[in-house]
């Protein structure tokens, strides 16, 4: 464990760390969007889309991420296109984690009390409006803890992308081991501790974030009350919107 080795390998490890962070960020955004879409389609989708969404979640929750990644990375070239390894990794991870995130969102959507929907309907909100302004904010609060757990496992899954040849943190550590030939005393352990640190940082950050969420949940701030239709806080935007809609319903000329 000489400081010399540390200095020479640091740049590789830092580059790997940067790639890991970038890939994680891209996959978190992609996975959340895909997951949300799949969850919405499964709960409210027209015609055959619920079944397709269900097939999607069952398929990717029942197969390993490695196969998904290889299928995308090699499969795209089978059809005659070239795909960047970063793009393949981000796409594969997004699709794979999207299936898990979809289940998280679905449980959240189903956990919103039915009364909220009924009240919104009485107040004259359309289904779309109800979903985006009433159900989704409440869903967000319910799904936050499992969603964070899913994000953490996604960050760890980025190490698998090294198996289709991307040089992220893990791959960097492996390259140094190949050069030095001392896996444990060399850099693997350092790579491990460094791989751990983004997890710790993000975990702390996420914990902080969810801590805020629970603080808000306890009613510290009125702004949060807009999630609920029943409260009568004048300053809350949600209520104003609801009132406006209720009003517009009243002012509509009768036949």
């Amino acid at each position: 464990m000489s400081s010399d080795l540390l200095l020479t390998s640091l740049s590789i490890l830092l580059q790997g760390l940067l790639m890991t962070l970038l890939l994680s960020a891209a996959s978190i955004v992609g996975g959340t969007l895909i997951g949300l879409l799949a969850a919405v389609l499964r709960s409210f989708g027209p015609w055959g889309t619920p079944r397709i969404a269900r097939l999607y979640t069952e398929l990717f929750r029942g197969t390993p991420v490695l196969i998904t990644l290889m299928l995308i990375y090699f499969g795209v070239s089978y059809f005659g296109y070239a795909i960047d390894v970063f793009a393949a990794g981000a796409l594969g991870l997004s699709i794979y984690q999207g299936a898990y995130i979809a289940e998280v969102f679905r449980s959240g959507i189903e956990a919103v009390p039915k009364g909220q929907w009924e009240v919104s309907q009485i107040l004259g909100l359309s289904k779309t409006q109800t979903f985006f302004s009433v159900a989704l904010p409440q869903t967000g609060k319910i799904v936050m803890p499992p969603l964070i757990g899913q994000y953490l496992s996604l960050i760890k899954d980025t190490s698998i992308v090294s198996m289709i040849g991307m040089s992220e943190l893990m791959h960097g550590g492996q390259a140094i081991v190949d050069r030095v030939g001392k896996p444990v005393t060399g850099s693997e352990s350092r790579s491990k501790s460094m791989d751990w640190s983004p997890c710790c940082i993000s975990s702390c950050a996420f914990r902080y974030r969810s801590g805020c969420a629970t603080m808000i949940e306890e009613g510290a701030c009125c702004h949060d009350q807009r999630h609920y239709v029943e409260a009568d806080h004048q300053s809350c935007r949600r209520q104003q919107v609801v009132r406006r809609h209720a009003g517009s319903e009243e002012h509509r000329p009768r036949r």
């Binding site: 097939l55 196969i67 290889m70 896996p183 791989d195």
Partner: protein
Amino acid sequence: MSYEWVTLAGYSNDFVRAAWLTLQVTLLAFAIAMLLGLLTALASAARIRLLRVAARVYIEAIRNTPVLLQIFIVFFGLPSLGVTLNAYTAGVIALGVNVGAYLAEVFRAGIQSVPRGQLEAASILGLERSQIFMEVVLPQAARAVYPAIVNNLIQLLLGTSLLSAIALPELSGTATVINARTLLYIQTFAITLAAYLVLSNVLSWAAGQLGARIFHPPLVMKKRARRLFFAARQADRT
């Protein structure tokens, strides 16, 4: 079009052997994980502080690092400490240790979910500590955590695909080799995908059957496999 499938049909023996190896590794690693998980869950509730700390460190260290890295450390790292393992043993140990940490948390949650009144009632009835644990806490906790355990088993099955990185010829490793030999990317990986799907659904079905048999009253779990295509009609629309 069909010649590709005919080519791959020649490799069907390899696929079957690989699937069997995958299943073997999964079950062996799961046995280790159950043992480790139970011991760690017990240690994290122990009276001795050192045991509690050790359990905590194990759980946090394993749960916050990628599985692939742990596999590499067991396979490539241990030899420099004088322990040389073949790919099969290293894979089973690495996965067992990994899932053991997750199961420890599951067991801990299960043990905590048993109401306190049960413990108090048991100690008033004059049961010893070990008796309370074995005959009062464990049966109730097992029922509560059974679905979570099955979930971890499925995750473990999917995790075995990473053992292809240390050249274990399980499903993914075999698929990579066949892929390199035939260059039929889509077909090879589609077959592999289907194989994993069948394995995971068979395992969760078997676990559901077991759950319905060993618990009284029977524990009914969601039937993932059968609802896949057929019974989605009414449920989805509501």
